[in-house]
Symmetry: C2
């Protein structure tokens, strides 16, 4: 018998007490039931779970039984608790602006994208043949951004506007060697400036904030300027002509980065038409709920000449083996898993799901629909402006799109305007004692406009006009020469799905091309594709969570703060650390934040010179990239042939750099999928040499309740809530990468301009919103609450058991690259396919593509080792599913044997020709040395349960050579027909 | 130009006023935009919509422009209004029982079935090759019912428990010729007795209510007894042994009908083990929200010898052309479209979606999970019982499962118990001054139990025990010999999908086999498969609507009543009638209710003898079946070869039967798809001969705003809200079939025991719940509110235009069976395929199956004419989609030509072999006189947008001959492997 109590026939048993709830999450989350777990243990030669765990996890780091004691909530208890906390968020209407709006989410998109597991459980589209749906949607996103900004190329999203602006700054910096000054116009939002300040530090960039037009003419700066950032329209609402500024900036050899607003661009001259080199912004107002700050997709667009330097993922067109158009991720060689510390960006997980929502919004509204919306928003602002002017208020900005800055001093005070607004549940933007800001959006109804006017009238002791007294403005309040004249979104995809039925079918059609967790296991090593439970997702649709502005006053968001603090507390308990920050909105962002915290700590102790970061060669590419961004110099540490860290080498290097040693980054269990027994020794070496230990928590799924980063010897770690804590991957984001730190680092955790108290020693913001992608924290909070301590530990145990069972089943067929001295792997396993290349020219990709024919998403390929696959089953998969996957792998091994033995030719076989979409079956000719049946139904269960790739193998080189990153135009489609 | 303002590039234009909302539903609901409408009008030779409409709709019945003036609400306005009304429903916890419980809906089922358009927009699975998913789920439902009741066979759902009991009564009646007495035990619920009373009337059955055990021994009745109905456990909670009663009843040659509860059956001896012949009940507590009464699925199970008489749809196993297991609807020859007035049941639309939810609940919990749930429910009841006994209350029933009847008189009064309960938002069952009823269910938490005990303690001035003072009972309060000993739900399907991941995949896997509106148009004549908007569906998930008990006091359901009365009012405006009843929960149920109202009207005027009902031969089978059920004699009226009613024949028959003429039933526009100019004349004839006119409103989609049933001359009509008013079909239900009546019939509308006021002249209940499937009325209410008057009229116009455009495109390729004198059809068109049979042996089914290969759901086949297809596009389909469908039809016509001309053999061709699932492509051998490509990609767009049938053509005859209606067992599956 074993200690895991889980679901299944044998284990849906009576709970101990009559009064215990029955809708416990534990049994629904964990795949294998008691009987299955026992069977797996027996196959591995164990008679108890405990003896297995003792072999897998080094005893030196094991925790006591009650390390994560927390009572579980059942699914309905969780629901009730979430409702209770939701009710503590006050429902205010926010006109705060600053880049955040009240989005109107078209219900068809809400239900069929945001609330649809077929969309939200997808993985990043690295396997394009089974991901054409989301790739098409992401290229729609890129096209939308390119078209609205008038730029040559755009990526598939970044984390938020502030970090996108920071990427623009760094791009400017690396494009203008030796120039270190980056000018930031005073019209840029506070949160962006804060994030730039943080980011500038690591690169040694000098951020100068002020009037950009004046600053570019400043003789003392001129020669050192690498770039200029402007906000267009600016934070106060003004629309300035930056054409001149662009010319001047270019003449200095510097780049112009423009932060802008997609909706405004339907009305104003796009930055691409007045000389911007980089255009960034936030697409959230295109139908993505505010969610107290996120998640939402930022965009990033550049001119053609900068395209190969662009950070983030980029979807491009290519062709498949049959010559058909197919989409894929382009230019992956730019990314950190290739460039490592030479990468200038560490962005990995981005905001795919939210980019898809925004793109779908544009598809649904089309150019005319967007024009209607922007006209309404603009006219409401105009109507409001003239009405408050009539009351005696002054509008500071003559021109505007949706945002006004009012000088209230003639008739009232800012304090009294805010107080009156607050009394009727309205938030305005606080500026200073005499000014109040207000931003309009699509959501504002005529009644709300009248209510607003009443607030201002009352503050000015004036009378408010009624709706009928508000005349429609006759011309836009936009300078004539800055009005948009060019077309946008003329591509067919934006002009045919305007009825709900057509939209529904388009969403469904794209989803039908994509393999997600609704189909079969996605055993992606290092990515932990586990159950994303419905119970944890449901609250995200509640307005109490979805409609909150990130800068809403704290007293309005008590529910959110309760969740945030409970989650921080639980994460601290789980990691063994003292404090946490939920601000980083991806794992890589967490790495960066953690390293900045370490640097700040050293600085506070007069050790600011410490700038060496030791990183094992096995580390994820984001680690060295983050270190470089934090201004650290990366020194690589060797790894033994058995997969373990080379402690000798570590010691040598730590001692060599002892005076400058800042940090050591380590992933645990290692990226090779083993618990190294020497982890505590390694950390000790670092500490003895004055360094701090950063633990990359991507593999925390193997640790929870059995060990923790603090026990392993770390000082700080990030967690990927979108891995270990069940936030869905969304096809490549959103993510949350909180950091947890030991006591001595707590004072340095990131601050934010919108946080009421700022720690004296805090580093500045790393994300645009104070709590990052706040709304999805609810998912991880719910996950932990529902599993409780026992459920968390059982999940870890089964994650380990599942991986070891697979290792056992695959052994003899594939060579397991690494295991510990007891023959055990951790929660994932690395198999090496190098021999097949040697014997028959078969690459990792050939196995991966062939797995698609078996209805599975391939494991992580060629990472962390080029010739390997990294397989991670997670605890949510049942024994039956593990067996199906192993059967597939074993069958492929047999197919490979036929190629090795020469039964099948090396260039025309089941693996090289994989995947086989239906279209390959249709041709009358069949010139292949295997049957159609062998191609598509190699195992009997595939007849019932088959997922069809929608295209043949995609040509990667062709796509990168012929880089085209927008969707087909009318003309191109006409040619095809 | 035309008068239709709709969505699309050309028409997402600025609204007239700045203050008009932009999220108007009109443009999203209607498929064609202005440009498309103009194009279609031009093709038909019209330069305006008005001139087209004048040609299509007889001027004599046209209404003025403002016939349905109603302002529209935008989608967000509707949302806000629905929230406002939701807030008016008070949140009480109900322990009322009487067949209705608080269901716990597993979130994975809620989100992926109930909230998933891939499930809720499906049509009835008459095309089994593209419906294997829901057929499998429905057979799971049947299996679940058979297993829990221990009966030989069960159907795929009925409308509610009361009507299911009525079907059982009628089955008893027809099984025992000449016997007219049906005994109903006093333990049966009030609402069931009311529905039986209504139903008995038409058949001339004598319902005797009392102690069934005594009544079967009553000498005065004995010889006349056809059946006995018992409730098990009964309405008061008692569990009686009916074994003896069953024996006695059988010895009288009569049947035993047992109404029961699926959850109780996990604990008590199933009726199939003590001799019941028919077992009925409500499956709602298996995860279907109460929704103020519905919808939910009733079940109906019988012994083997009764199987061919069973009402409703029955899913059975069969085999496809390749010999594989495939599911289909069995024994359709039992149904009314075949048997017409000889049918004993008129059930057509049933409760497929809700049956699927209940089946999924059983799949998710399995036998052990259900056992856990029933044990908890039972033990809570026991714990409660002993605690209140200790306070001095008496429990009337010694044995019980979940329901107690308490005699409160020793310590309190019923009035004071109810008052105290109400004060803490608790509803108990009112019985009389001394008794209070209480029913427990899965949803009750320990805290709620304590709260309940406090109420009873306080009413008795006793003290309430705490949770820890409540001892767990040691034996069930069920008589030993009535405890269940047999196994249940041992089939594999109920024992493997217990983790959320597996459940999600199972739900998704089944959905992937089914074509629904998320894929392509479903042009089913007479079924109006239009958009089911997300905005109208969202409120159904709100607890304010979903958790309400149907017998909750009126003051708690003000929100519901506002919606119900607004909907009734709007339907009256639309039909031109004076009053409405929303009680009937299907179209057929509406027909029956309407005819009962007519009979009651005649009776009230001393004309009770009027019993002749004239019905055209073209009528839907439910019409004559309903007439027969209402005790009317059907006399058929001829139809002219041009499709019009034979007015001469009508006149002859009306005059012939003038003394006994009760009613005339007519569908308008006719089931042949034309507006007959003579409708008013026909109605006049009827009225002149003392009859009333019943208008079958299935085709109301062609009328709204242009004409109405009152103007046409009707006295009563039913509407199919699940057709015209956008309630989704759910794969064969739910439905709502309200009736609207003229002033003189209003006093006769159905009453219900739970309605506070009963009209003096009202007929008794026709449904178990006072407002039928109350929750989904919200959908139609929202539909009407969002479209407003103009949107409704434009929808009608486009529905007519779309149909006429298709008729035009198909002409020359297919012969249009009927059109009016201007060459126009109504909202649907009938094409006759008889010639193909004559020329080449090609049947309607061959065309239908071939359409599946083109990715379309076939139109209605062989109804109302055997050799025809009835095509109804609805207003929600765009021109592009209509063209795709017409292209497919035309391409099939060309394929047929090749068969006619002998190019392709008559027995082996594209049509006869259709559909072609992927499996047919896989075989290496291809012995067909056409290519694989011709088989599956006959038109180019299919390469991108193809829906694959999951099996080959299914053998109907085989299935009916080898009737097997449960899912495969462990042993059978083992054989397959
Ligand atoms: C080991 C490791 N570290 C860091 C990351 C980066 O996390 P993110 O993608 O959330 O930025 C990953 C992501 O795959 C990872 O596997
Ligand atoms: C003309 C007509 N009358 C009546 C009905 C019966 O309606 P229901 O299926 O809702 O019982 C139908 C259903 O298809 C119909 O087409
Ligand atoms: O549903 C019909 O039977 O037409």
């Amino acid at each position: 018998h074993n200690h895991v109590q889980s679901r299944g026939l044998a284990s849906l048993k009576q709970p101990a007490s009559l009064f215990a709830p029955l809708d416990t999450f534990h049994e629904r989350h964990i795949g294998p039931d008691d009987a299955e777990a026992s069977k797996m243990l027996a196959q591995l030669g164990y008679d108890s779970m405990e003896s297995f765990i003792s072999d897998a996890v080094p005893p030196t780091i094991r925790l006591g039984e009650h390390a994560v004691d927390m009572p579980p909530l059942s699914e309905s208890q969780l629901h009730a608790r979430a409702k209770e906390l939701a009710a503590k968020n006050k429902s205010f209407k926010s006109y705060i602006g600053m880049g955040y709006h009240n989005a109107v989410v078209p219900p068809v998109i809400l239900r069929n994208v945001m609330e649809n597991p077929a969309w939200y459980t997808q993985y990043t589209p690295y396997q394009p043949e089974i991901a054409q749906g989301r790739l098409e949607s992401l290229i729609n996103f890129q096209t939308m951004v390119m078209s609205l900004t008038s730029m040559d190329i755009a990526n598939a999203s970044l984390l938020d506007e502030a970090t996108a602006a920071a990427e623009g700054m760094v791009m400017s910096f690396v494009s203008a060697p030796k120039k270190k000054t980056f000018i930031v116009d005073a019209g840029v939002t506070t949160q962006t400036i804060a994030v730039l300040q943080t980011r500038a530090k690591g690169f040694g960039i000098k951020v100068v904030v002020g009037n950009a037009e004046a600053l570019v003419e400043d003789q003392s700066l001129k020669q050192d300027v690498c770039g200029v950032l402007v906000q267009y329209p600016d934070v106060n609402g003004a629309i300035k002509d930056f054409g001149d500024l662009a010319d001047k900036t270019h003449s200095l050899g510097a780049l112009v980065v423009c932060a802008t607003d997609l909706l405004a661009l339907t009305k104003i001259k796009p930055p691409g038409e007045w000389g911007a080199d980089v255009v960034v912004g936030n697409s959230a107002r295109f139908g993505v709920p505010a969610g107290y700050g996120g998640p939402h997709a930022a965009f990033f667009a550049v001119t053609d000449k900068l395209k190969r330097k662009m950070p983030g993922r980029l979807v491009g067109r290519s062709r498949d083996a049959e010559g058909n158009l197919a989409y894929r991720l382009s230019l992956q060689t730019r990314e950190q898993h290739i460039r490592r510390e030479r990468a200038t960006s560490n962005i990995c997980t981005s905001q795919a799901l939210l980019a898809n929502m925004a793109a779908m919004y544009a598809v649904y509204h089309g150019s005319d629909g967007l024009r209607r919306i922007s006209s309404k928003v603009h006219k409401f602002t105009q109507v409001f402006e003239s009405a408050v002017k009539a009351m005696g208020y002054k509008s500071v900005n003559e021109h505007f799109f949706d945002t006004l800055t009012l000088d209230v001093s003639a008739v009232s005070s800012a304090k009294s305007v805010h107080a009156l607004a607050s009394a009727v549940s309205i938030n305005l933007r606080p500026i200073d004692d005499h000014h109040v800001g207000i931003t309009f959006d699509e959501s504002v109804s005529p009644d709300e406009l009248v209510k607003l006017l009443k607030v201002f009238a009352s503050a000015a002791s004036a009378s408010a006009p009624t709706i009928t007294e508000l005349p429609e403005p006759d011309a836009p309040s936009i300078p004539t020469h800055l009005r948009r004249t060019s077309n946008y979104l003329s591509h067919p995809v934006f002009n045919k799905h305007h009825s709900e039925t057509e939209m529904l079918r388009y969403i469904n059609h794209l989803a039908s091309k994509d393999l997600s967790l609704v189909h079969s296991m996605i055993p992606l090593g290092s990515c932990t594709m586990k159950l994303n439970s419905t119970s944890s997702m449901i609250p995200l649709s509640w307005p109490e969570f979805s409609t909150v502005h990130p800068f809403a006053p704290y007293d309005q968001v008590q529910g959110y703060h309760q969740i945030i603090s409970e989650l921080e507390e639980d994460l601290c308990k789980i990691t063994g650390f003292a404090a946490a920050s939920l601000q980083p909105n991806s794992g890589a962002s967490g790495e960066y934040a953690g390293l900045c915290v370490i640097r700040a700590y050293h600085e506070s102790r007069g050790q600011g010179h410490r700038d060496i970061c030791l990183i094992p060669l096995s580390a994820h590419g984001t680690n060295p990239a983050s270190a470089a961004m934090a201004g650290l110099k990366v020194v690589s540490v060797k790894v033994h042939p058995d997969g373990n860290l080379d402690l000798e080498d570590l010691k040598d290097k730590a001692e060599k750099h002892k005076n400058n040693l800042a940090a050591f980054m380590i992933t645990y269990p290692s990226t090779f999928g083993v618990f190294e027994a020497g982890v505590q020794d390694a950390c000790k070496i670092i500490h003895e040499n004055g360094g701090q230990v950063y633990l990359d928590g991507a593999n925390l799924n193997a640790q929870i309740g059995l060990t923790n980063p603090a026990t392993c010897g770390g000082d700080v770690c990030h967690l990927n809530l979108h891995k270990t804590f069940a936030i869905p991957h969304g096809g490549g984001g959103p993510g949350v990468g909180p950091i947890c730190v030991a006591e001595h680092l707590a004072p340095f955790l990131p601050s934010h301009p919108a946080m009421p108290v700022r720690g004296e020693k805090s580093i500045d913001a790393v994300s645009a919103a104070p709590f990052g992608s706040a709304s999805i924290n609810v998912i991880s909070w719910a996950y932990i609450k529902m599993l409780g301590g026992k459920g968390l530990i059982d999940s870890t145990k089964i994650a380990l058991l599942n991986a070891n069972y697979m290792a056992k089943r695959l052994q003899g067929h594939y060579s397991l690259k690494y295991k510990n001295e007891n023959g055990r792997v951790a929660h994932e396993l690395l198999i090496d396919l190098a021999e097949f290349d040697k014997m028959a020219g078969l690459k990792v990709a050939d196995f991966a593509k062939r797995l698609q024919d078996y209805g599975f998403h391939p494991p992580t390929c060629s990472w962390p080792i080029q010739t390997c696959m990294l397989i991670e089953p997670t605890e949510s998969e049942t024994l039956e599913e593990l067996d199906r996957f192993c059967d597939a792998m074993i069958a492929i091994r047999e197919e490979a044997d036929d190629i090795i033995s020469g039964k099948q030719p090396k260039d025309n076989n089941l693996l090289k020709n994989a995947p086989h979409p239906v279209s390959t079956l249709v041709a009358s000719e069949w010139n292949r040395p295997y049957t159609r049946e062998q191609a598509v139904y190699p195992l009997p269960w595939l007849r019932e349960k088959k997922f069809w790739p929608s295209v043949s193998r995609i040509d990667d080189a062709y796509g990168d050579l012929n880089l085209i990153c927008d969707c087909p135009s009318v003309e191109e489609l006409a040619q095809v027909d």
